[in-house]
């Protein structure tokens, strides 16, 4: 169960894991208690142990309390879970910390395409850098993404980052993540997108910042040598 989770590599992954653990504990205890009570009732009141049933329609206020009090406890637990959920949700999805880098992520049948704004820090200009299949980001830096879909629904999914967001044609959905240590992770598509949905994969390379900057600079630098025919 919880121990099956992959490594937690983003700064909100541990929040989500902690929230899930909270639910596991609360619901797990409820579940075990309920099953235990059910088992006890099943055994204790079998015909051979209890030949004559009692009359107990549970239609008075005092007997209704038997179920209403536990139900009120359920409500209290619900509220605890919901409050924690709202806090974590707000951190992951409703707010974006100041970002060092913005990337456009586009899902298409059946690949991921990544666009960096280039030296002018603006998208849709000539110096945009486009990379297909591999998304390189600096370790420890907040990366803002703008998620797009070219054709059908996709979902941008990196298990180790606890990151999942649907991509919808016609919308540019903002979000963010960070990667806490150098890693090479699989980007998967988590929304059925056609025959080769399974194989719609990409790679997320979290590089040390210096290495990342070097790579990015190399992408936007002019071609290393001009062809000899250019000199006249």
């Amino acid at each position: 169960m919880l121990w099956d989770l992959p490594r937690a590599l983003s700064s909100f992954a541990s929040d989500i894991d902690r929230h899930m653990a909270l639910i596991y504990w609360i619901c797990g205890i409820w579940f075990l208690v309920a099953e235990a009570v059910l088992l006890w009732l099943a055994v204790r009141y079998r015909q051979s142990a209890h030949a004559a049933a009692g009359w107990l329609p549970g239609d008075t206020r005092s007997t209704n309390a038997w179920v209403l009090v536990p139900a009120a406890l359920v409500l209290v637990c619900d509220m605890v879970i919901e409050f924690d959920s709202a806090v974590v949700w707000a951190k992951v999805k409703e707010t974006t910390p100041p970002a060092e880098l913005t990337v456009r992520v586009q899902g298409r049948q059946f690949a991921w395409v990544f666009t960096y704004p280039g030296p002018d820090a603006k998208f849709d200009t000539l110096d945009d850098i486009t990379a297909a299949g591999t998304l390189r980001v600096p370790v420890g830096k907040v990366v803002k993404f703008e998620l797009e879909a070219a054709d059908v629904l996709h979902a941008f999914y990196v298990p180790e980052l606890r990151l999942k967001q649907d991509a919808v044609p016609g919308r540019r959905i903002p979000g963010w993540f960070d990667v806490l240590q150098p890693a090479e992770l699989t980007i998967a598509c988590a929304e059925l997108c056609g025959a080769s949905h399974t194989y719609m994969k990409g790679t997320l390379l979290a590089l040390p910042p210096a290495e990342f900057d070097q790579w990015l600079a190399a992408q936007s630098a002019p071609p290393p040598s001009t062809p000899p025919t250019a000199t006249r």
Binding site: G58, V67, A86, K93, L153, L192, G194
Partner: protein
């Protein structure tokens, strides 16, 4: 009464207007479709356990075929098994018997309902064999994937899929109108709303939920058909449409639909638990009111399927709240069922075993729902195998365990003979063991990050160490399917060889047990009169440990309306044992 029973075979068993024949037709069509859905599950599971290896009885599963199998398995199990068996099958057979009337309010409409449903079944099966293949867009058929044949290569197959689903909705609309009208207008003399057996309440509330939620999806389906065939752009962002519009219309229906299935299952459970525990249902009115509240809440939870679908993130927490709140009315209902067992004297018939198992297994489905319902946790578990495990832990008990309980319970009523007990036990233990073997590992797979609807888990490094879970689940699925053989053998064997059943073999109080087994055409020799609530078991001062609803008050049958009084009052008012 027998004079107007139709005499020709065709009118009597095929195009019958008798609610009992129609109920059984629905049930057995559902059973046949369950075998098809089960076979698809077997192919799917085999492919996942050994990706790429040819599956015995099917062959190599291509990616497109895998998507089609996923789609059809879900569609069939929800719309062609759960709906016909739980809602239409048991509802048709039992509602008129339980309320003490001869048939539905509109028998001809009932006949039309079944044959419209049958036509929808034919269309769905046809959709698998047309050029381009069957729909591979998932049972949710999200556009744009479903909106243009170019995205999947599926042409007519998906159009037929939509037509089949729409026809099925029409069939169940007719059924729903019939159920509600019948329950309101045709109750036996003396039977007030609070004297209705819970099964009737649950079917009626389920029908109301269905009728009020299905309209938007029909609108969505029509727009989707138009997008596919008339080149409109309702869901095409490039043409000014909105893909998320369909998701809203779908889930506005889709989530209430879960309760449309759950409520009849809870209704069956109420009848089986009370008869077999010899106990009045605990908190009858509490259960009814909780169900009504849950029904209302079910209309404002739909977006919890869409937390990360691109809707405004500020919408998530309100929908998360309503979703988690809906656990309260259902908790009340389940607690009431458990309290019903308290001080009971439980007879472990096969039906009762299935009913208890349904409670036990459904609990796990219920508590894991909280993880999906929490917006924050959903970021990780959305569209993962955790969801798959969760909804199988809710839906398998609803769609199979509860109907099994009902089927074993009412089989003597249906056919006048008992099912074989030994085969029943084999079926029960086999089903429970293999069901858990199949679906427990999926929780772990989900936690590993296994996303839904992928044909080949080997494609993902993070799933490599989960492959043995995958294989375990597959063995579970195969075992689960094989252990249905004793059930099917039992059904047909017992038709001829089963021990004859009398009218009231389980000593139940409700009116279904007041008629012969099987009930004749027209059900009741004379219109019954109802004198008391449905679950009068173990009342002090009664002659027997149960007092049927139709037994006139008198010595040994205390006071007319029992559920309203408390025990002391009853003991005072009741006559001494006759």
């Amino acid at each position: 009464m027998h004079d107007h029973a139709p005499s020709s075979f065709l009118r009597r068993y095929v195009f019958s207007t008798d609610h009992k024949v129609i109920g059984l037709q629905y049930m057995f069509t559902g059973l046949a479709m369950a075998l098809l859905g089960g076979f698809l599950a077997y192919v799917m599971r085999s492919q996942l356990a050994h990706p790429g290896t040819p599956v015995a009885g099917f062959g190599t599963v291509s990616n497109a075929e895998y998507n089609a199998i996923v789609t059809l398995h879900g569609t069939i199990m929800v719309f062609w098994v759960a709906m016909p068996v739980l809602v239409a099958g048991f509802g048709n057979y039992l509602i008129p018997l339980l309320i003490g009337t001869d048939d539905m309010a509109f028998p001809k409409l009932n006949l039309m309902s079944f044959w419209t449903f049958f036509l929808s079944t034919v269309v769905l099966i046809l959709s698998m064999f047309v050029p381009g293949g069957a729909s591979g867009s998932g049972w949710t058929t999200y556009p744009p994937l479903s909106a243009k044949p170019a995205f999947t290569g599926v042409g007519l197959g998906l159009d037929l899929w939509i037509v089949a689903v729409a026809l099925e909705f029409v069939a169940f609309l007719m059924g729903g109108v019939n159920f509600i009208t019948t329950a309101i207008n045709r109750r036996a003399k003396g039977m007030g709303l609070w004297d209705l057996p819970l099964f009737v309440w649950e079917e009626v509330i389920a029908s109301i939920i269905f009728m009020l939620s299905v309209g938007p999806l029909v609108a969505g389906a029509l727009m989707l058909l138009a997008d596919r065939n008339l080149n409109t752009g309702f869901f095409d962002a490039a043409a000014g449409g909105d893909p998320l519009l369909f998701q809203h219309l779908f889930w506005f229906f889709g989530h209430p639909e879960v309760y449309v299935l759950l409520l009849p299952a809870l209704g069956i459970l109420a009848e089986v638990l009370t008869v077999c525990a010899r106990k009045a249902i605990f908190g009858y009115r509490l259960i009814v009111w909780s169900t009504i509240v849950a029904g209302l809440l079910s209309f404002i939870v739909w977006a919890h399927h869409q937390f990360i679908s691109g809707i405004d993130p500020r919408l998530a927490s309100p929908f998360s709240l309503t979703t988690i709140l809906i656990s309260v009315p259902f908790a009340i209902t389940l607690f009431c069922y458990m309290a019903t067992l308290y001080q009971g004297s439980i007879r472990y018939t096969v039906a009762m075993l299935f009913a208890m198992a349904m409670l036990a297994e459904f609990l796990l489905g219920g508590v894991t729902g909280i993880i999906n319902g929490s917006a924050a946790a959903d970021i990780y578990v959305h569209d993962s195998y955790f969801v798959v495990a969760h909804f199988h832990y809710t839906l398998f008990p609803i769609v199979f365990l509860a109907p099994f309980a009902g089927f074993y319970h009412w089989y003597p009523k249906f056919f006048g003979r008992h099912l074989n007990h030994g085969l029943g036990l084999l079926h029960f233990y086999g089903t429970i063991v293999f069901f858990n073997l199949c679906f427990l590992p999926m929780f772990a797979l989900g936690m590993m990050g296994h996303q839904r609807r992928i044909a080949d888990p080997n494609a993902f490094g993070y799933l490599a160490h989960g492959q043995h879970y995958q294989q375990l689940a597959t063995w579970g699925a195969i075992g689960l399917l094989v252990l249905q053989i004793p059930f099917i053998v039992n059904i047909f064997l017992s038709l001829r060889k089963g021990a004859p059943a009398e009218a009231n073999p389980w000593r139940g109080t409700t009116l279904d047990w007041a008629v012969p087994s099987p009930p004749p055409h027209g059900n009741f020799e004379a219109p019954p009169v109802c004198y008391r609530g449905p679950y009068v078991y173990g009342v002090p001062g009664a002659a027997d440990d149960f007092v049927p609803q139709h037994m006139p008050p008198g010595p040994g049958a205390p006071t007319a309306r029992v559920p309203d009084g408390d025990a002391a009052q009853l003991a005072a008012a009741g006559s001494p044992v006759a």
